[in-house]
Symmetry: C2
């Protein structure tokens, strides 16, 4: 009995309509649930990406409150061979690439931002499977 | 080619030594990498939990900066049958339960806090697989 899998990853956005338009385009997926001004939830493979309005989630009284401000970071996992395709796809869906980074172990990351300023990354598992200190 | 899996979930903590002690105990796992005052990284099953000092990660110049303040939220995925065991385990490792919640679809969540105040949850996939609006 160990905690080895993450079920919910959260981000915060002030403008949830803008966040929904962006993530629906990026993920190619309609949200599972939307409560305008409160949250937008996406169901991925066995895990959730939850985007909250921080002020609203900090005043939730059904479950314990939370709500962070400032840019956070999420990385999506892809196969190494998909990285060049994702570089093209981001250009096609008009998401500007902020940085391309090659790690000491050879893994390749693409970085960009969501409209709220959160730092997003696309990278393969090999980045961590073969982790080397920089 | 779709983004359906999250490789990195981040939290922020002002006191990373305290965060490391807490997460090592909670996860029953030594960190993959620690840079004192900067970060503590845990390798889970095919995904990473990254805990950063927000001030340091906001001044990173190797990769795009990020850093949020205020409590965020992460949920760990367990099997439904493990929830009662986790309630006992949290008591054993002296992590106070903040709330137990039963969702409209019958899924059961346990809520607690890390030392930085981040809201943590333990829940089964059935919470989202059989999602019902509250």
């Amino acid at each position: 009995m160990n905690l080895r899998s993450i079920l919910e990853t959260c981000l915060y956005a002030d403008d949830l309509a803008e966040a929904e338009a962006f993530y629906t385009r990026l993920l190619g997926l309609e949200p599972l649930a939307v409560e305008p001004g409160k949250f937008v939830f996406y169901r991925l493979d066995g895990a959730m990406l939850l985007i909250f309005d921080a002020h609203e989630s900090a005043h939730n009284d059904e479950v314990p409150p939370h709500g962070a401000t400032g840019p956070s970071h999420v990385c999506f996992r892809v196969e190494p061979a998909e990285i060049p395709g994702w570089k093209l796809r981001l250009a096609e869906i008009e998401i500007p690439l902020e940085m391309e980074h090659i790690w000491p172990n050879g893994a390749h990351s693409l970085y960009f931002r969501d409209p709220a300023g959160n730092s997003l990354e696309i990278a393969p598992w090999s980045l961590w499977e073969k982790f080397k200190e920089a």
